[in-house]
């Protein structure tokens, strides 16, 4: 091969490699992204059955239920219009609490119960997952139910 041919082969090889990498990335992307749904969308049948997605909303007060002394637990995620029951087994985050924002990763069963394999709660008192905040805001007439006592610097 002449140097010129060799260079062309090299360039074509690189382009082919990058194209293959791009195609694989896109297919990995299509298969592995997770969509977010709120309880109203789940109730409306928009969420897929037996496929992983993120469910977000508020933990309904009084809904956390666990068999004493066991890791099995269940709670209700609400957007103040619809509720979805979530079952989970394991350690929940420090900031998991009733009446606070939560995001659960898992699958929806045919019985309408969401089986979570991962629970995320907000990282600090003032933070709510943005999609949860938006979902609730739309359902709640634009009023965000926030805990008022920890929000701002004491100005007295």
């Amino acid at each position: 091969m002449t140097p010129r041919q060799r260079r062309i082969t090299l360039v074509v090889g690189i382009l082919a490699g990058v194209a293959v990498a791009g195609a694989l990335t896109l297919s990995a992307f299509r298969e592995n992204v997770m969509f977010f749904f709120d309880p109203s969308q789940v109730a409306g049948g928009e969420a897929p059955i037996e496929q992983r997605f993120r469910l977000g909303g508020m933990v309904k007060p009084g809904s956390v239920d666990r068999v004493a002394g066991s890791l099995e637990m269940s709670f209700v995620v609400t957007d103040f219009q619809q509720d979805v029951r979530v079952v989970y087994s394991g350690v929940v985050p420090d900031l998991f609490r009733e009446n606070q924002g939560v995001v659960a990763h898992g699958r929806l069963g045919t019985d309408g119960v969401f089986v979570a394999d991962e629970i995320l709660a907000k990282h600090d008192e003032n933070y709510m997952p943005p999609e949860v905040a938006r979902a609730i805001k739309e359902k709640h007439g634009g009023v965000m139910p926030v805990n008022p006592d920890v929000r701002s610097v004491p100005r007295t």
Partner: protein, 640 residues
């Protein structure tokens, strides 16, 4: 008074930065030596006043001056001194000031160490750095001023976020910023070269050590953050593909490509425009990282602000800097033509593939990080991308990269002459495969598909990295810092691959429900909760568990995990109990009260996990050693 001094010096710093960029860029352009020679004094002034400004903020924190809003929001009189100091960069405003200070510190270093550079070129570099300073100082001053007063003063502060009250996290931001901002130096060198329309091998030799040191800081910063997430967040992993982690990882990947491409430009005068493009991309990704983290677009532990004005400012700054640099590139890059050719097995082509794979990996991470934002902005639905995407798309280019490195570090410039090293390389491969068999069959049992591949590639690279230093030592050849640094850095990469493979393949983990006196099994390990007691810290009280861990009946660990309740923020925090051992970490985190006297407990045993961070440290160390090589220091510089 001290806050006003800080505010005033911040304004002075902005003026000094304006002067610095004006004289640095206009002086050489209009050929006025008196302007050009004003740049260095301007840098000194900017450094002094920015230092005073940062010092004023530190003083306000140390003295618990709760009449300053930022101090009141992020500190507390009960906070230990170390965290009162680190609280300076514990939130948005102060971290920007720290950023601006680190930038001017780098600029001063460039000003002091660039005496051997041609005067107009050095002035232009300092001028471009001045422009970046202007951006950051104006941003701090106009949207995020940390010196605003609170009237009347707060009786006490709201305390630093308990998550950030940690020694590793006290040093994580300064290290990471030193890396981010250090890439600004490479960027400024690239812009100055494009303005002059000249880029030669001397240029690459000036740029290389700066870039390598910045890259080393970035490596340390990322490793510290990852280490912190491991023991402080109580999740027990080392990397979560969190958007904010990715934001620091993308400039690292491109920066890694840049230091390799600079090697080709220095030694062979090739890849010139590609090197420039990488320098622009690396710094742009640093800025993008700042934008993502600081604008509130991404929400995570790191994002302090959710203020649209700040987001718009950073976005505008981003557009000006990246757009300006790319325009300059489009205009000037055609002037920089490389003449020489190279053969297929030469070092140049190995480094070319290194660059392609690194950039492909960075692009894959970029797609996964940005897709949720773009989809959200376009109203295509809210989606999230997790490790199910990132793991495979990152491994795909990375594994060949490791194999290429194991061979490529022995290839010669221009003509590939692997023949004299072929035997050693194959021997290293053979030894790597044998050691893999020992690890997979003897030390740990069972394996996933990638386990032997990861071990073999990592061990091969580790052994291969040692061939050159051993060979030189035996033949009593000169051992330059460049040789030693390169060997250590690649040894580190090999160790990194081996340790990640071990962690991913052999981690034992389970969530248990334990009452005092009960024990639970995690495969061959038994975790027993011996007791629970209450302890009190300076600004928190905690429930402390005592957990004994047995392996096949023999005690291998005694751990004290805590569940802390910080008084001021009324926040519950997990403080994991971790026992570091030679080959593994034994980890336990206390969950919550399950009722019936039981507590949830997260139990994990992770082999080699400490070596992940040690390996990152080795890579950084290798970089620093190579950057202090003699040829960067003593050789008189030819005129550019």
């Amino acid at each position: 008074m001290i806050a006003e001094l800080g505010h005033f010096t911040l304004i002075l710093a902005l003026l000094a930065a304006l002067a610095q960029s004006f004289f640095g860029l206009a002086g050489p352009a209009m050929d006025r030596p008196s302007w050009t020679s004003t740049v260095r004094p301007a840098v000194w002034v900017q450094f002094l006043v920015t230092t005073l400004s940062l010092g004023a903020l530190v003083t306000a924190f140390v003295n618990n001056d709760f009449s300053v809003e930022y101090v009141a929001a992020n500190s507390n009189s009960a906070l230990p001194l170390l965290y009162r100091v680190s609280a300076v960069w514990g939130a948005h405003e102060g971290s920007l000031l720290l950023w601006a200070w680190i930038l001017v510190a780098w600029t001063l270093a460039v000003a002091l160490l660039s005496r051997s550079l041609p005067e107009p070129f050095a002035a232009r570099v300092l001028g471009v750095l001045g422009l970046i300073s202007v951006g950051f100082l104006a941003f701090t001053l106009f949207t995020s001023n940390p010196f605003l007063r609170l009237d009347p003063a707060a009786p006490d502060g709201r305390d630093l976020n308990p998550l950030l009250q940690d020694p590793a996290l006290a040093v994580h931001p300064p290290m990471l910023y030193a890396g981010y901002v250090g890439l600004a130096v490479a960027f400024a060198f690239a812009c100055a070269a494009m303005i002059e329309g000249r880029l030669d091998q001397a240029w690459a030799r000036w740029t290389r050590p700066w870039t390598t040191v910045a890259w080393a800081f970035l490596s340390i910063g990322i490793a510290l953050g990852s280490w912190w997430a491991y023991y402080e967040l109580g999740w027990g992993g080392y990397w979560f593909w969190d958007p904010v982690e990715n934001a620091s990882f993308m400039p690292w990947l491109v920066g890694t490509a840049l230091i390799h491409s600079l090697a080709v430009t220095e030694k062979r005068g090739l890849f010139k425009s590609w090197t420039l493009l990488l320098a622009i991309m690396a710094f742009s990704l640093s800025l993008l990282g700042t934008f993502l983290v600081r604008s509130g677009v991404l929400v995570s532990v790191h994002s302090f602000a959710a203020d649209p004005a700040r987001g718009m400012f950073i976005l505008a700054f981003l557009v000006i800097i990246i757009g300006g640099a790319l325009t300059l590139y489009a205009w000037r890059a055609p002037l920089l033509r490389s003449e020489a050719g190279f053969e297929f097995t030469s070092r140049e082509s190995f480094l070319l593939f290194n660059n392609i794979l690194l950039v492909v990996a960075a692009a894959a991470v970029f797609v996964g990080t940005m897709a949720p934002l773009i989809s959200d902005a376009l109203g295509l639905g809210t989606l999230s991308v997790g490790r199910q995407y990132f793991d495979p798309v990152f491994l795909l280019p990375s594994l060949p990269l490791v194999a290429l490195a194991a061979v490529g570090i022995h290839s010669g410039w221009k003509k590939g002459r692997l023949s004299d090293r072929r035997q050693s390389i194959l021997l290293a491969l053979l030894a790597g495969v044998l050691l893999t068999l020992v690890l997979v069959l003897g030390v740990w049992e069972g394996a996933k598909i990638l386990t032997p591949i990861g071990f073999a590639l990592g061990l091969w690279l580790m052994l291969s990295a040692l061939i050159d230093p051993i060979d030189r030592w035996r033949r009593k050849l000169s051992m330059t810092r460049a040789v030693i640094g390169m060997a250590i850095a690649h040894l580190g990469l090999g160790l990194f691959v081996v340790s990640i493979t071990a962690v991913e393949s052999y981690t034992r983990e389970r969530d248990l429900a334990l009452a005092v006196g009960e024990s639970g099994r995690v495969d061959e390990f038994e975790y027993r909760l011996e007791g629970l007691s209450t302890v009190e810290g300076p600004n928190y009280d905690a429930l402390r568990g005592e957990v004994r861990v047995f392996e096949n009946g023999k005690q291998v660990g005694l751990l004290y995990p805590e569940k802390r309740n910080y008084w001021v923020q009324r926040q519950m925090m997990t403080e994991a109990g971790i026992e570091m051992q030679i080959g593994r970490d034994i980890f336990v985190a206390l969950g919550e009260d399950l009722g019936a006297g039981r507590w949830s407990v997260r139990a994990q045993v992770r082999p080699l996990i400490n070596y992940v961070w040690f390996a990152a440290f080795l890579m950084a160390l290798g970089g620093v050693i190579a950057a202090t090589d003699r040829r960067y220091r003593s050789r008189p510089e030819p005129a550019a």
